[in-house]
């Protein structure tokens, strides 16, 4: 009996060691929550991370570990980490840093969209005398350079006949910008929902945001894999994409509105901020994984603008960046081919999506 047992052990041990090629999937996210909490918010990745979609996908693969890194330095810091070979996936990387990374030779594939039409807010000190974009000229402002906030802000400025050179723009990360606004050392900043809390405390007012013009000025982020990882582990890439698509399916469904905001609130930003940010707007308007003509058109246009603004010095080939086959496989496998609406390059809807019929729970 003891012998049989020992033999069984041996077989088991051999089987494990034969299989045991431990693999760590290293995912980077360009941001942190309030007070540096290691949580994302406002996008598909935040749903996937907070509700463990990736970990669940690999729950039965003891040799596969998932490792998340949240970068306070946002996209620029994530790019450095990618360049150093410390990451396999860039999840939620913004449009500007991803284009900058590609222009500088980072080898990645564009797997799926994470968020489109994201808002930027302009927050100003109440006594600054700024009530519209044109008033910004000559003021001391901050922006988080190298992130998709900078590109969106640049586009807003140029639509109002200004550029960064018309004001004094200092580079501050999200947390430092809040402190600087609080202390009154800057007149205003471009940022996202973290500014709503400061407004509620009466420290800033928000004279401008892009929600009404999201198709024109909205920010984008997406999910990328390094070319090296993709070539070595196509099956794993497919499974990671499957998990993100499942998270996207959950996150875009109006029936989950409250649950999604609750997941995002793990970042430390209150649910009411997300409710306000998404007021009168369907979640699916931003949370779509699709690589449709609209998304392709946006990135092609952004790449040109980034070059015009002098933020890159080489042209970026956008079409060859996309690797939509993983997304298409995942959508088909989950029966979601017609779940999200499809838009053309100008932002006009060309196909309805099932998600538009989902309703807020309890209504």
């Amino acid at each position: 009996m003891g012998r049989v047992f020992a033999a069984l052990w041996l077989v088991f041990a051999l089987a494990v060691t034969a299989q045991a090629e431990p693999l760590v999937i290293r995912i980077g996210y360009p941001g942190v929550g309030a007070d540096n909490r290691p949580f994302a918010s406002g996008d598909i990745v935040a749903v996937a991370h907070a509700a463990h979609y990736i970990e669940d996908e690999f729950a039965h693969d003891p040799d596969i570990k998932i490792e998340w890194t949240f970068f306070r330095g946002a996209g620029p810091a994530l790019n450095e980490s990618l360049a150093a070979g410390h990451l396999d996936f860039a999840a939620g990387l913004g449009d500007l840093p991803s284009i900058v990374g590609r222009a500088n030779g980072l080898q990645t594939r564009f797997l799926l969209s994470d968020k489109i039409r994201d808002t930027i807010y302009l927050a100003v000190r109440p006594n600054s005398g700024i009530s519209k974009i044109e008033d910004l000229a000559g003021h001391r402002l901050s922006e988080f350079k190298g992130t998709n906030l900078q590109l969106a802000a640049d586009r807003v400025l140029s639509a109002h006949g200004l550029s960064e050179r018309n004001a004094k723009f200092i580079n501050l990360d999200t947390g430092s910008a809040l402190a600087a606004l609080n202390g009154g050392s800057i007149d205003g900043t471009f940022g996202s929902i973290e500014l709503l809390g400061l407004r509620d405390r009466g420290i800033v007012s928000i004279p401008y945001d892009t929600r009404a013009e999201a198709a024109k000025f909205g920010r984008h982020s997406a999910i990328f894999v390094t070319t090296a990882f993709e070539q070595a582990h196509r099956d794993i890439v497919q499974r990671v994409v499957n998990a993100f698509v499942r998270a996207a399916r959950f996150g875009a469904d109006e029936a989950n509105r409250k649950a999604v905001f609750a997941l995002w609130a793990k970042s430390g930003y209150p649910q009411i901020a997300f409710e306000e940010d998404f007021n009168n707007e369907r979640l699916a308007n931003r949370l779509t994984p699709l690589i449709d003509p609209y998304l392709r058109g946006r990135y092609a246009d952004l790449a040109v603008r980034v070059r015009e603004y002098g933020q890159i010095r080489k042209d970026v080939d956008v079409p060859s960046w996309f690797a939509p086959q993983y997304l298409e496989t995942a959508l088909k496998a989950q029966g979601l081919e017609h779940f999200w609406p499809v838009f053309d390059a100008e932002g006009h809807k060309i196909a309805d999506g099932d998600v538009e019929r989902t309703k807020v729970a309890g209504q």
């Binding site: 150093a84 990374g101 500088n104 030779g105 350079k145 190298g146 723009f169 050392s185 890159i312």
Partner: protein
């Protein structure tokens, strides 16, 4: 002959580093994004020079260092002289000053921002503080360490205090004072970069932080080269002034002896 030989020797190590750098990037030992080729850095330098960005930002940085260093050095000379000359003042200030001097300059930045904001004044004060500390310490030390024999000589010749100060103490302390000034200037230059990295919209340090945010390591390296070159030039100018003053000091000492 020996001078040119010295210059040639001084070129050897930088030249070797340049070759190593070229080979490194040509062979792709480090990814391009982390170590751009020397040619890319040179290109970046030329572009910045042509667009005028290089000059305007260098001038702004120099101006900040100039203002901060002037402020810190003058204040340091005065306090250093007082502390060096008066035993009472020394006993009053020494422990506190040594304590405060242990805090790295950058450690004061958060407090300063609360007090004066992040405008020019913050940068100038930080730079002034960085140069103030070594000046005070060295000036006080220099004045205290005047050889006892020289002081006794003054007493024998019944010099009044003012004469003792200008003819004995100051000349004897000049080398040490200059050590403090040189150290202070080097500190000022380094602190300028740190202050500009932190929160600014112009200056060499700003260009470095911009280069980092936009993933342009060639811009970062180009500005590092400029910083080194300008720093070297400023330091060289200081050494020149010092040599002139020391010659004067030598002749005074000759007279006194």
């Amino acid at each position: 002959m020996s001078r040119t030989a010295g210059a040639n020797t001084a070129v050897v190590v930088p030249a070797m580093l340049l070759v190593l750098w070229s080979v490194c990037s040509a062979k792709g030992w480090l990814p391009d994004q982390l170590l751009p080729a020397p040619s890319a850095v040179w290109q970046q330098l030329l572009e910045n020079a042509r667009s005028g960005d290089l000059w305007s930002n260098t001038l702004i940085s120099l101006q900040r260092v100039g203002e901060g260093f002037a402020l810190g050095a003058v204040a340091g000379l005065i306090l250093g002289a007082c502390v060096g000359l008066s035993r009472t003042l020394r006993e009053m200030f020494d422990p506190l000053f040594l304590f405060v001097a242990q805090v790295p300059t950058l450690g004061w930045i958060p407090l300063l921002i609360l007090a004066v904001g992040i405008d020019e004044s913050m940068k100038v004060i930080v730079i002034a503080w960085a140069s103030f500390v070594p000046v005070v310490l060295n000036v006080a030390q220099g004045m205290r360490d005047v050889p006892a024999g020289l002081r006794e000589l003054g007493q024998v010749l019944t010099f009044d205090p003012w004469f003792t100060l200008t003819r004995i103490v100051l000349p004897a302390a000049v080398p040490q004072i200059f050590t403090g000034l040189r150290e202070g200037l080097a500190n000022a230059w380094q602190t300028m970069v740190a202050a500009e990295l932190f929160a600014s919209s112009e200056g060499l340090g700003y260009l470095i932080s911009l280069g980092r945010q936009l993933f342009q390591l060639d811009l970062v390296l180009a500005m590092v080269l400029v910083l080194g070159a300008v720093g070297l030039a400023v330091n060289g100018g200081m050494a020149l002034i010092e040599r002139r003053l020391l010659r004067w000091q030598g002749s005074v000492r000759g007279q006194a002896a």
